[in-house]
């Protein structure tokens, strides 16, 4: 058994190159290392110029997402051992512009996230100090979709987002739907103006990979399909019973 592991990193250095280049590193094979430990070793011991993002190291902050052997993963949550034997290839998240090495530009996602108004909207004067009691059933309606950590792995796995960058995307729609399903919220109509437009839910062709790669089991594909169904039923209701629109 080899005592080293070969890690290939797809690097991009805008001051030197106009294309990405592959650089190989040898790191010691250590049983309890996650991929992020190996990258930190490269940064600390082998090549201080390597750029990437990370923070919590415990699958909460969502900043260390990268492509590992072609799959978008949180590098703090995947053990090096699980990819052996063989070379491990690390690339920046797909479908995003690359700023440098493994650092992607996330401005587009942040704008889309804000556009779906992921906060509770009220149209009355509900006093802030008053307690809003919510039953476990009401909580279960949206809890799954509230677990998103904005890691953007779902955008990286989504071929629709890769082909149509205007697509609102899985995480933003799931978070919009999270508030739509919250019984304290009154902003469905306002929020759905964005979610149900052409670049919203209707762009989704249900490839389903967003849910498969989600490290928090948010299931964005389900959030999108449920909203498609609700929107369609509401359209038929308003068509068949126009007097209810008044």
């Amino acid at each position: 058994m080899s005592s080293n592991v070969t890690i290939e990193v797809l690097r991009y250095l805008p001051e030197n190159d106009s294309e990405q280049v592959v650089q190989s590193y040898e790191v010691p094979r250590t049983k309890d290392w996650v991929i992020l430990d190996a990258i930190n070793y490269i940064k600390d011991e082998l090549d201080g110029t390597l750029s990437y993002r990370w923070s919590c190291r415990m699958g909460v902050c969502g900043s260390c997402g990268m492509m590992v052997n072609g799959e978008p993963v949180l590098t703090c949550a995947k053990f090096v051992e699980s990819y052996l034997p063989g070379t491990i290839r690390i690339e920046p998240l797909e479908n995003f512009p690359v700023i440098r090495d493994l650092v992607i530009e996330m401005g587009d996602f942040m704008e889309k996230l804000e556009s779906v108004k992921p906060w509770i909207i009220r149209d009355d004067d509900y006093p802030e100090e008053k307690e809003f009691i919510q039953t476990p059933f009401e909580l279960s309606e949206y809890k799954k979709f509230s677990m998103c950590i904005n890691c953007m792995l779902c955008y990286s796995a989504c071929p629709v987002y890769g082909l149509e960058p205007g697509f609102t995307g899985p995480a933003a729609i799931a978070l919009g739907q999270r508030y739509n399903l919250d019984n304290r919220d009154m902003g469905n109509a306002e929020r759905n103006e964005v979610l149900t437009q052409e670049e919203g839910i209707w762009q989704c062709t249900l490839v389903g990979e967003c849910s498969a790669v989600c490290p928090k089991d948010v299931d964005p594909a389900a959030a999108i399909q449920r909203l498609k169904l609700t929107t369609t039923v509401n359209w038929f209701k308003s068509f068949l019973m126009p007097w209810k629109n008044r």
Partner: protein
């Protein structure tokens, strides 16, 4: 440091990768997705075929016999076998995705995804049986 005209200190040039036209050949799940989308042609074909059969039935036994005789040609038989397999693949893959869109409950308890899938297959079987019984 070499000079790259696309790069300035405070505004580095981003690297953008475009999706190759054959992106769907890289992973089996993507190929399965494309196959599911393409086999919708078989669904449309089957729907039109069913309407033609109903129309022939409506026009009398002579017309119906003409249509069924046409189905016995080897080329049509092969075509229909392929279309049937595509139809099965399309239907099974779509019904398996039903729990993503449909949330069924008994009282406040959500029924398991497998039960939702099972109910879709049951409805499929019942509707198909009714059509077979009529034809």
């Amino acid at each position: 440091m070499s000079i790259n005209p696309d790069y300035s200190k405070y505004h580095p040039k981003w690297f953008r990768r475009s999706m190759p036209i054959f992106w769907w050949t890289r992973k089996w799940v993507h190929m399965k997705f494309i196959l599911r989308e393409l086999t919708s042609v078989a669904v449309a074909y089957s729907a039109i075929l069913l309407l033609l059969i109903v129309r022939a039935l409506n026009q009398g036994s002579e017309h119906y016999s003409e249509v069924t005789a046409m189905f016995k040609s080897p080329v049509i038989l092969i075509l229909h076998t392929v279309m049937f397999l595509f139809l099965i693949f399309h239907s099974v893959s779509w019904f398996s995705l039903a729990p993503k869109a449909i949330v069924l409950r008994i009282g406040k308890k959500r029924i398991p995804d497998q039960a939702t899938i099972g109910l879709n297959f049951l409805a499929w079987f019942v509707v198909s049986s009714v059509i077979v019984w009529f034809i």
